[in-house]
Each structure stands twice: as structure tokens, then as C-alpha cells.
Amino acid sequence: MIRVENLNNRFGHIVTANNVSCHFEEKKVTVLLGGSGSGKSTLLKEMVGLGRPDSGSIMFEGKDITRLNRKELYELRKKMGMLFQGSALFNSLNIFENIAFPLREHTNLSDSVIKTIIKIKLEMVGLRGVEHMMPSQLSGGMTKRVGLARAIVLDPKVVFYDEPTSGLDPIASGVIDKLILDLNKKLGVTSIVVSHDIESAFRIADKIIILFYGNLIAEGTPEEIKNSADPKVRQFVEGSPDGPIPFTLTDKDFIEDILIG
């Protein structure tokens, strides 16, 4: 579905993608895992055309997203949905208008049809009845669900999730995990999840890709990742503070640093 090839990114002297190549399969849930600064968010932005890589290509439906002009990109984005980390609902519009927004912009549907579509989408995320509330009146988990309803309102082929469970309590995270799986199984939506939540990744992923400071260090099913012998992957899976991924930033010796300065 989406194929990333030889992607390179750097910000100043920090490398956020070092010749990364990977494939996101159609109708599967792929989780892109990595710590902060691993380059996973940058990669996500580039997959949807919100950023451009230094080099490399990202193929979606036979087109290279990194080389499209604005018009072509907008055409392609109608087939994409995205759930932002902070939901990104418009706080001046109520829930109904928020979800109706893409429909009003891109379709000529009548009000009654829009109403029905929104009922269906809200039912999917289990929130029918909140239409007239404002985003500020909902909890974090609920705004995420509304954000998801808005992301799927145009029936996209691919949905991107940016840290869908971060900042949520375990129950709300569980709900989001279930919704991601539901959408994937019932509607056949290709799902690409960027996350650092390893538990959630094991629950939902068909395939996991682990990025470490811009390098792709592992790619496989949750089983393969769990049983990986690679010490970097093990450290990530077990969440150990120190290991191949060091706890301290500098490699200068501590005692030496104190004594000599």
C-alpha cells in the first residue's frame, strides 16, 4: 500500500532517518515504534505529505508522495484520514460540525444525509448523543474518539494514528486499541500507527517496525519482535532504562568529569 524507499532525513547534524525502507501492507495494522527522537513522527509527517524528506521516495497508489504538487497531494489526502495526537478538533465548532466539516467541504450531500452519516460514524466510536457538545466539554479519550470519527468520515483507505494512546488512562487506551482493530477488521482500513506504547502495539499490530535514532532496527510480527534476540529490541520491549540505548547522554566518564571538569 505504502512503500518507503531509501528515505533520508536530517535536522542539522541529527539524523532522523538513515536510509529507511519499509512497507505498509494493505488492510493491515502496522505499528511504527520508537522512542522520542527516533524519527517516527517525522516519517509519519512525510508519509502524508506534511513534510518532505531530504532524499528517498514514498510510494502510495503508484505515486511518489514526496514529489507531488499541492493539488495532487490534496486529491490523495481525500483517501487518507489522520488522528492527531491532540485530536486537533476545531474548538470553535461543536462535535457535529467538527465531524461534518470534511463532508461539507468536499461533498454536496444534503443536511439530512450528513446527519445520518455522522450518526453512523459516532455510533462506530461509541459516542452517539454528543453531537451538540463542544470539544472542551469532552474528556481526552472522548475527543480522540471524535477525532477518529472525523478522520473516517470520508471513508478513507488509510488511517494514520499519531500516538493514539499517549496521555490516556488504560481503559481509554484499551478503547482506542479496540476501535483501531474494529475499523481495520470491519471496514478493511489500512492502519498506520505511530506509537511508543509497546503494550498497545502488541495488542493491535499485524506488523511492528522499530526505529532507533533514524535507523530501522526491527521489522516483524509481534511474535517475532517479542522473541527477538537483538539487544536494542530487547531493551525496547522490556523498557530497561540502560542498555545498548544508553541512559546518559554523554559517554565521558562521570568520575573523570567531576575530578577534571
Binding site: R77, K78, G86, L89, F90
Partner: protein
């Protein structure tokens, strides 16, 4: 050597920002004139920039007119020329104070809010969310504000002029006892059409400046809380200063 490099870098940065802001504005204008038009967004912005500024413009203009009459009466009576008070008040307001004070008040009220609104939309990912919904953010957010400012400012300025003159009348005629006939007679005799359209040209230019600067700074605010707060301050300061400078330039061209 370092000093020269710093100076050079500073100059380059400034030129770059100016260039980017010009492109930003040109793009927003271009997006405003090609369909689909967003009439409802423009109306909403006119309500925000224009209609909601009514009260502060009412108070500002009333007191400006009143104090002008008071000061004018004091000065003019030294020459025994109280009769021309009406024209003094009207010309100062129509030519100068109306457009300038109006623009400064709108900057403080609406300009700061525009910057903060766009900055917050950026922090909370609403701008990339628009992009993801295949909606051009500049066309959606910025263009309606520019059109609305261009419509609102001249109207607010006209309203300011009117109420300012009423304020002058209240103090000059009703309180200080200037003859009503000479107050309005002098005013009509001295005020020419060019005074009025000069004021309108100024208000158009200021409306454009307010929308341009506050949108550009908001759109380029750093995506942090401090970023938005400093952007808001900068927008108000830079817009206010530009209004005063441009006011001088326009006045000198029109005279």
C-alpha cells in the same frame, strides 16, 4: 569579524522574513479571489473584527471628539476663534484621528486575538488537520480575515468620524456654548471630499496591515505556549508601529 557576520546574518534574516511575509500575503490575496469563495467565513470574521469592535470604537470616538472640542475651545478662544471649532474637530478626526485611533483599537482588540487564534490552531495541530482534510489552511483561515478587515475598517472609521463629531458637538455646543450654526457651518465649509476619502484610504491600508501582520505572525508562531504569547505581543507592537509609520507616509503622499 564576528560583528560583521552577525550584522549580515541579522540583515539576511530580516530580508528573508519580509520576503516570506510578502509571499504569504500575495498567496492569501490570490486565494481570496479564486473560487470557491467562503462568504460565511468572511461574514463571521466581519462580525469578529468589525461588529464586535463597535463598543470600544463608540467609547474611543466619543471621548476623542469630546476632548478635541475641549482642547480646541481652550486654544481657539485665545485667538477669539471659537467659531471654527467645528471644522477643527471634524478635520482632525476625519483626516487623522479617526483612521489611526480606530486602527490602533482594532489592533489591540482583534489583531491580538487573530494572532493568538492562529497560534493556538497551530499548537493544537488544527492547521495540519486542515491540510490533512485537503483544505488549504491559508485560504481557509487567512484570506477571509483579510477581506473582512478590508471591509470592516473603513466602516468602523466612518462610524468613528460620526460619533467623534457628535462628541465634539456635545462638548463644544451644548457644554461650552459655541454657536451651533457656526459649529456646523464651518465644519461643512472646511471639510472637502478629499479629506474624507484620504481617511478612507488610510483605513483600508490599516485594515490590510492589521490582517497581514497579525495573521503572518500567528501563522509563524513557535508551537509552544511562550511562542504564542510572544507572537501576540509582537503582533500588536509591530502592527501599531507600522500603522503610525504608514500613516505618515500616506499623509505626505496625499497632501
Amino acid at each position: 569579524m564576528e560583528a560583521i557576520a552577525t550584522l549580515g546574518r541579522g540583515t539576511l534574516n530580516t530580508v528573508q522574513v519580509l520576503g516570506r511575509s510578502a509571499l504569504f500575503m500575495l498567496y492569501a490575496l490570490y486565494a481570496a479571489i479564486i473560487p470557491p469563495y467562503r462568504f460565511s467565513r468572511v461574514l463571521k470574521e466581519i462580525e469578529f473584527i468589525g461588529a464586535k469592535s463597535f463598543l470600544i470604537i463608540l467609547v474611543t470616538s466619543l471621548f476623542t471628539g469630546m476632548v478635541l472640542a475641549l482642547q480646541g475651545y481652550y486654544t481657539l478662544s485665545k485667538f477669539g476663534a471659537q467659531g471654527v471649532l467645528g471644522s477643527a474637530v471634524a478635520l482632525s478626526i476625519i483626516r487623522e484621528l479617526g483612521p489611526v485611533l480606530c486602527a490602533l483599537m482594532v489592533t489591540g482588540r482583534a489583531g491580538s486575538a487573530i494572532t493568538a487564534e492562529i497560534g493556538i490552531m497551530k499548537i493544537t495541530d488544527q492547521v495540519p488537520a486542515l491540510e490533512m482534510m485537503a483544505i488549504e489552511p491559508i485560504k481557509f483561515i487567512v484570506s477571509p480575515k483579510i477581506v473582512a478587515a478590508l471591509i470592516s475598517l473603513p466602516l468602523l472609521t466612518a462610524f468613528f468620524d460620526l460619533v467623534g463629531i457628535v462628541g465634539g458637538y456635545l462638548v463644544g455646543v451644548l457644554m461650552l456654548g459655541v454657536n451651533e450654526g457656526s459649529f456646523f457651518g464651518e465644519m461643512i465649509r472646511a471639510t472637502e471630499f478629499s479629506d474624507i476619502y484620504g481617511g478612507i484610504i488610510k483605513s483600508l491600508a490599516f485594515g490590510f496591515l492589521i490582517a497581514w501582520i497579525s495573521c503572518f505572525i500567528g501563522y509563524n508562531a513557535k508551537a509552544t505556549t511562550e511562542g504564542v504569547s510572544s507572537a501576540t505581543t509582537n503582533a500588536v507592537v509591530i502592527t501599531s508601529l507600522s500603522i503610525l509609520v504608514i500613516d505618515y507616509v500616506i499623509t505626505s503622499v496625499l497632501l
